[in-house]
Amino acid sequence: MTNTPAGFNLVDHSDQQAVLQLSGDWVQGCAAADMGKLAAALEGRSSGELVVDGTALGRWDSTLMAFLLQCHAYCRQEQLAFSARALPEGATKLLALATAVDTHQPPRETPAPLTTHLNPLRWLALARDRVGESLAFIGELSLALARLVTGRSNTRFVDFRHFCYQAGPDAFAIISLTSVLVGMILAYLGAVQLQQFGAGLFVANLVTIGMLREMGVLMTAVVMAGRTGAAYAAQLGTMQTNEEIDAITTMGISPMEFLVLPRILALIVTMPLLTLYADLLGIIGGGLVAGGMGITPLQYISQSELSIKISHLSVGLIKSVVFAILIAVAGCRAGINSGRSSAAVGQAATEAVVTAIVYLIIADAAINIIFQQIKF
């Protein structure tokens, strides 16, 4: 079916009345719906009537309706009376429906000028708010912990056990893979340097101490931040969206005790265990590389054994507990403060991982410096 070109024609009947004659097929793709042209033609009329005449109108769809709605809005704004005649029945009904409710005028928000965005004082205020929020979160958490210790908390053991399972055994596969590889990387890295001095055997010391003090716990923490921290943020964010957190609060249960505490405790329990496991697998991974370099397993094991000291082990374990708290707090805080849309949940998960990793690295550096100073 070919379209008759659509168009309109403005005819003045008298000072008070102008007739807008529509013709042709007003369908998708027609170029007639140009409100600017009509507005220009109508310019200067401050009173009177605009009559839309559909006698010569062919086929029509939303294109026509959108145009008529704009005409109606224009007439309203310029205080012209608007009427229509000989429009198809459907179009008349649709127009009546579309104009039944006045257009909503959204409240005007004046955008803040650029200077406010660039004002360093404003940044400071924002930073202070964020730090304040974090402190408030940690404060509430401590209160919840105190209630748990005194046995007055609503934390459910079932939840705790569930999260332990999620954060522990479920993470074995990925932790195994990363730690073996990290052990091998450490061994390669050390081997290249140490062999220059004919001290290839000390690869064992390097891998063992490196894994125990640093890499084992750091890699575990990074994996857990991506795996468990993000999951916490997404879970709590979705609960926020579903109004579950509102429901918990109105039942008189503190979300901190009911939702956050079991998650944090679960991570505090599982992280040191996972770290030990990662340390062990990392040393084995290093051993594989050492074996390739002609060091016998027996040599590697005895050399490793010599370098294991309680202090190395405890540095790793202390770090693992600190990291566990940081990851869980970053995840839960992002989730609890999440917005109520699906996009906000995604943002919360991203924020959880990013803040957790930044926290981890800062904390790791700080702990290393402290232990260096006290020669631990």
Binding site: A66, L94, A100
Partner: protein, 263 residues
Amino acid sequence: MTEREDSAHISVRGLTMAYGARVIQHDLSFDVRRGDIFVIMGGSGCGKSTLLKHMLGLIPPAAGDILYNGESFVRAQPSEQEAMRRCWGITYQSGGLFSAMTLGENVALPLQLYTSYREEEIDDIVAYKLALVGLGGFQAYYPSEISGGMRKRAALARAIALEPEILFFDEPSAGLDPISSRLLDDLIVQLQESTGATVVMVTHELPSIFAIATNSVFLDAETHTMIDYGDPRQLREHSTHTVVRQFLTRSASGDAVATEDRQ
């Protein structure tokens, strides 16, 4: 359109719906005439929404066929199914609006994807579609910033963006107050009258059913099949099945269906 006024727009033939071995409903056969406001009703858990999902092609049927304009949807090629879907507008139980997009963007999306309108024209049409549902001027709002009733209407605006021949509603008035629910019913009727679209809706809101339905099917949860078909006002008085009359007159007889309805 007038020459096919009374022909069946949608025909369901011998449809059996099952999740694995669990049969939800079997041997459903009914027609939806062009221009009908057709209601799928029945007690909670009888498979109303499942039937709608079958009609939308979201779940393949265990047996039977669904025909649109006499053409099988079930046996159609994916590309043909896609073309058929293009003629449908659907609103989901909780709206199904994209929460990361404003109302304007939500309504504009199908227009951008499936029409050749220019950007400015799309803006005009979005303004018109939103005005149709009484939400003119709300283009820049996010779904989370408006009320539940407004969300339902915004979802309707998105559903009618492509001027569909068939409109599907899953519990349109669930969770709305009586006035909003009534206004939504009126809106559906007015849109139906002015566009001539066929409307298929799942609902168990009796006032809605009596106010707007022109035809209906009743699914029974006990016998797992449809037990009545026709104008609900007629069924209320003349149905031969007690459960249908009870459902439509909201009378309790202490049986499971009635108890569940009161929730």
